[in-house]
């Protein structure tokens, strides 16, 4: 399983990274592998304000669908519309071009509640 050392993680398999005062979020390499071929990602609307752990979207493979959860609360600033036409990017580059949303965190201290890479790895191993 690949991990991004600069990201923090949620037990629900989202990663979060700080970029230009915003939080960028996607799903982990482990999650994309479990789902196999991603066929569709459903996004929130830009401007939506969602709480930590609230569902921000859905990701689908041929035989499964999973909810996507906000790793921190915040207002959605941008969604990665490229995934609408090319969902396979989530499989190819989950921490890079496969990012899903950017949001303005409402409580930056929630960052500290997220898991460090090693802790996330341990939590996956314990599943």
């Amino acid at each position: 399983m690949n991990l991004d050392p600069n990201a923090r993680y949620a037990e629900t398999h989202e990663w979060a990274r700080k970029e230009d005062g915003l939080i960028v979020c996607g799903i982990t390499d482990h999650a994309q592998e479990e789902l196999s071929d991603v066929v569709y990602v459903e996004f929130p609307q830009v401007g939506d304000t969602l709480a930590k752990d609230e569902v921000f979207g859905v990701i689908e493979s041929v035989k499964a669908a999973s909810d996507l959860y906000m790793p921190m609360g915040g207002e959605i600033v941008e969604v990665n519309v490229i995934l609408e036409d090319s969902p396979e990017i989530v499989n190819e580059d989950p921490y890079g071009k496969g990012w899903m949303i950017k949001f303005n965190p409402s409580d930056p201290s929630e960052w500290d509640d997220l898991l460090m890479p090693e802790a996330y790895e341990a939590s996956v191993a314990g599943e």
């Binding site: 569709y40 459903e42 859905v58 689908e60 493979s61 041929v62 035989k63 499964a64 669908a65 909810d67």
Partner: protein, 448 residues
């Protein structure tokens, strides 16, 4: 015992392989207090006897073959070409199930793909699902879909009072309590202008029927703009569906979801079912659509083939978060509707629709000439029209029945202001002679 193949020797051998001495032993988990009750049912009969019993029941009915039929109101007496029941009852179609294994279900899958394509052409929409139970449940699911398209933010469903009353009742059963507000039809005379005024930022959709339940063609000019301007969806119930052989499809005037009763397309009357819920939508909403969808793809050798697709919307994967609970639909009836459209084809469907239209207009003109009867439609109509009668419709219908005429629908049951109004329906099945017979019978009843 019919349909049970085992001989006594088979049974003995099977029990010994299972390792029990009797069939009863296999039911030990069933509480003894409730095991094997004596069912108080009539004893078994042979094929000959059951058919006799059913023929006797049939004799207590009067089928449409006994009448000149002028009754529509959601179920239509159209001709069913012989090829349709003949082919649809082939065991390979009839006794297969949901095409979960696409490699051995290409027949059903391709036929449904063709059905989807033909309904898309007919309604002017982009995507069509593999069917719902009937027009009423399609409409209810469309309302739910509209709420979902708004991501649950809009919870007002605006319905025209000129939608089939049973469809509006079904909608209210599907969406009970406080989940959504269903409004618009409290005023049974509300027109499109009244409904437009009720549009607001809570409205998920406006649902109209066109031609409406009273037979009238709606003036839909500018309607979609008004609905979309309010951020809502326009849902059109395209009944009777045959009308689209002649009339502008709802896709042309901006509908977002089109639903209809597909029974007129080759299904027969069958005392109300099985019918066919047609469901079509614009492509952008496809992921919010309920029901099964068949898509085209290729196999590992590059050959064209068909599969059930976008299945994560459905209950077997999304469970409580699914777009609908629908599973088994009306597959065989959809197959028959596809067959009907292919068989009638481009010119045949137009011909049937025009025939319905001309017969209805001839009948309306003749009835309107009668003393005491008046055609009261305020707009152009397709094959159903309203007649104001000199006596209550129930009385009139009883008199018509004596003449072997199945009269029209009593509108006053649902629209109290439509006093003594009958909704008369014509199809290609009505001959001029039948129409003239109806006119004569109506004239003679005038003095009742």
């Amino acid at each position: 015992m019919p349909y049970l193949p085992h001989t006594e020797a088979d049974r003995r051998e099977m029990l010994s392989i299972i390792g029990v001495s009797s069939v009863e032993e296999l039911f030990q988990d069933v509480p003894t207090s409730h095991r094997c009750p004596e069912l108080q049912l009539p004893k078994a009969v042979s094929e000959m006897e059951i058919l006799d019993e059913l023929y006797a029941m049939a004799l207590k009915n009067s089928s449409t073959g006994c009448f000149a039929t002028f009754l529509g109101a959601g179920a239509y007496n159209h001709f069913v070409p012989s090829v349709i029941p003949q082919l649809a009852s082939r065991g390979e179609f009839l006794t297969a199930y949901t095409p979960y294994q696409p490699e051995v279900s290409q027949g059903t899958l391709q036929a449904i793909f063709e059905y989807q394509s033909m309904i898309a052409a007919l309604t002017g929409m982009d995507v069509v699902n593999a069917s719902h139970y009937d027009g009423a449940t399609s409409m209810a699911e469309a309302a739910i879909m509209a709420v979902n398209v708004s991501r649950g933010k809009r919870r007002k469903i605006l319905v025209s009072p000129c939608i089939h009353p049973q469809y509006r009742q079904t909608l209210r059963t599907y969406l009970p309590g406080d989940q959504v507000t269903i409004t618009g039809d409290e005023n049974l005379r509300a027109g499109l202008e009244d409904l437009k005024e009720m549009l607001d930022d809570e409205t998920a959709c406006l649902i109209i029927q066109n031609p409406n339940f009273l037979g009238e063609l709606m003036d839909v000019e500018g309607l979609a703009n008004a609905v979309h301007g309010a951020g809502a969806l326009l849902v059109v119930v395209a009944n009777p569906l045959i009308s689209l052989g002649l009339l502008k499809p709802p896709g042309d005037y901006g509908a977002d979801i089109v639903v209809a009763e597909g029974q007129p397309l080759g299904a027969g009357l069958n005392f109300g079912g099985p019918y066919l819920g047609v469901f079509a939508a614009r492509e952008e909403y496809v992921r919010r659509m309920p029901g099964r969808l068949v898509g085209e793809t290729t196999d590992t050798q590059g050959r064209r083939g068909y599969v059930l697709t976008l299945t994560p919307r459905e209950q077997h994967i999304r469970r409580e978060k699914a777009t609908s609970n629908i599973c088994t639909n009306q597959g065989l009836v959809a197959l028959m509707a596809g067959m009907y459209l292919a068989y009638m084809g481009k010119s045949g469907l137009r011909a049937v629709a025009e025939m319905c239209y001309h017969k209805a207009h001839y009948a309306a003109a003749e009835i309107d000439k009668l003393d005491g009867y008046r055609v009261v439609n305020s707009a152009p109509f397709f094959n159903e029209f309203r007649v104001k009668c000199p006596v209550p419709v129930a009385e009139l219908n009883a008199a018509l029945l004596e003449e072997s005429i199945l009269g029209g629908y009593d509108l006053q049951q649902d629209y109290p202001h439509a006093e003594n109004e009958m909704l008369i329906c014509l199809t290609e099945m009505n001959t001029r002679q039948q129409i003239d017979r109806l006119v004569t019978a109506l004239a003679s009843v005038q003095g009742v």
